[in-house]
Amino acid sequence: MGKYIVKRVIAAVITLLVLITVVFFLVRLMPGEPFTSEKLNPIVKENMIKYYGFDKPLIVQYFQYLGNLLHGNLGYSMKFTNKTVNYIIGSTFPYSADLGLRALAIALAFGLLLGILAALNRGNKLDVFCVILAIIGTSIPDFIMGAFLQLVFGIKLKWLPVAQYTDFKHTILPSLSLAFYTMASVSRTMRASMLEVVQQDYIKTARAKGLSNLRITWKHQIRNAIMPVITIMGPTVAAVLTGTFVIESMYAVPGMGKYYVDSTNNNDYSMILGMTVFYGAFLIFCNLLVDILYGVVDPRVRVGK
């Protein structure tokens, strides 16, 4: 197990390094420069170019960046010139993660529950209800979902606030909007997987042994059926926790999401790279976690044995 993790971490570091290299050179191919959008005094601009090291050869800049990265330093943002990328990510990530965790909790709890209930009641009204809910959930783009929740619960019914992110009441609508799609796909996957598992021989064996239905469902069916859900959770967790542009901008959540779009629009090279490194590392970590979780849930695929 330890050997496997070390191997995976080494592979992850190499992947990240290649990713940084590719993105480092790609962003410089984009049209425009970081300091063009502001009405800058030419002398100030020259100083800034010197300060950020743009006058040096590209390859020198690259190794300088890597050197800084080794110290955990992602550099200064080129748009918000008085802030470091570390500071921006550090101050916005908690909001995104908070929103993401709430959404994930809702999505997993209800998604799994609906999927299991639907599969256990295959063909009757409850199943049809769950299936329709799941299909609707995967059919509506998040910005339309967000807009409708705002319109109905915020503006028409006036039950919940539509923007800002302060206390619990403010978190409900954004978490629901973010959770809906994931919930729908979790419940679909879980239902399909439960129906697949119920045909397996070990379920017949368990039944033949005379185990109770509850025990069969809990110990044999759910435990085996949850594997595909774990697989889809890796990229989903990374995407949901590191912020989503649409939902965060719609509900005025001060999270990371807006920097994905803003940094690209402003040619804020260090910010783009910082976000890429952060998201890439997070994604690789989540996928590693998923692979380890496989072994916990299913001893047959336990690695390194």
Partner: protein, 325 residues
């Protein structure tokens, strides 16, 4: 072997089930019809015929297919047949609600939403279908090679996939825009650069599973060439799943287009797509909610149809479900 010959009825009367003696006169010899004996009573169905037969029986999937066909026809003909142009503005009808003159009402500059809806459908459906199709084919080929040959090729490809997955898609979209200009083709190319990853991973897993099956081993032992094994044994077995996957990938591509349009990286105005219509509609949510409502309706029903078709295809292609309905 002892057989019960008598049954006691509830009334207490004992009735013989089998008469003691059967009269041979009751029977006639029909003989053997050797010609009909060996004939197959039902027409034999190929895999595709069988799948199509079962797909037709699946009502939601069939309705989904008809609805999607209707939308495609409307997208082609509705803008031609309407007397309004999708760019013509009419100041008198700004934010007008649905009426007999403007079927779905007008937007904030008085443009007819019915025509704009189907002009948007042209873009959204084209991008969705083409991007998903190219991604499915490229991903299937690369994923198939990785899964079948494994080893160093697989190792390198999977690392490339990991790296591509991490590159922000906005950067790729902007770079493609620089190279080929703005338009529908830009969106398709940008989506194809990283979009094949999903179907590549999926196909790789499936092929990896299949190549260890006994019939592939048997073919190998018989000396069948790799190419023939792939074409004859592996592809037919994953075809169903690939087609289903393709159906499920189209909504993803339409969502992606909508997202890019939403943040202003889609096609240039005055052209429109469903993403742009939704974006414009959300701004007018409190003034004229009909615009976003209609857009949402068409986006959602299209997604719904595709999901239904995908589900129907998955069931139709799954031989284990044969005869269960």
């Amino acid at each position: 072997m002892s057989r019960k010959k008598n049954v006691r009825m509830p009334s207490g009367e004992v009735v013989p089930v089998v008469p003691d003696k059967l009269d041979p006169e009751l029977f006639t010899v029909v003989g053997r019809n050797t010609a009909r004996m060996e004939s197959i009573s039902r027409p034999s169905l190929t895999f595709w015929q069988d799948a199509w037969r079962r797909f037709k029986k699946n009502k939601p999937a069939f309705i989904g297919m008809i609805l999607l066909a209707l939308y495609i026809i409307l997208a082609i003909f509705a803008p031609m047949l309407s007397k309004y142009s999708y760019t013509a503005m009419d100041a008198a009808n700004r934010n007008a609600g649905p009426s007999l003159v403007h079927w779905l009402g007008c937007d904030d500059t008085g443009r007819d939403i019915w025509v704009r809806m189907w002009m948007g459908a042209r873009v959204s459906l084209t991008v969705g279908f083409f991007a998903a199709f190219i991604n499915a084919v490229v991903g299937a080929i690369l994923g198939g090679l990785c899964g079948y040959y494994g080893g160093a090729l697989d190792m390198i490809m999977m690392r490339i996939v990991d790296v591509l997955y991490g590159i922000p898609s906005l950067i790729i979209t902007i770079l493609v825009m620089v190279v080929v200009g703005r338009g529908v083709h830009t969106l398709i190319i940008a989506m194809c650069i990283i979009g094949w990853i999903g179907s590549c991973r999926f196909t790789r897993g499936e092929v990896y599973r299949l190549k260890n099956q006994d019939y592939v081993a048997a073919a190998k032992v018989l000396g069948v060439r790799d190419f023939i094994i792939i074409v004859r044994h592996i592809i037919p077995n994953i075809m169903g799943m690939l087609v289903t996957n393709l159906c499920m990938a189209i909504p993803g591509a339409i969502f992606q287009e909508a997202f890019l349009s939403y943040i202003g990286l889609g096609i240039a105005p005055p052209n429109c797509s469903w993403g742009i219509l939704a974006k414009e509609g959300i701004k007018l949510l409190r003034v004229a909610p009909h615009q976003v409502l209609f857009t949402a309706f068409f986006i959602c029903t299209t997604m719904l149809s595709l999901t239904m078709i995908g589900d129907g295809l998955r069931d139709a292609f799954d031989p284990r479900l044969r005869g269960t309905e």
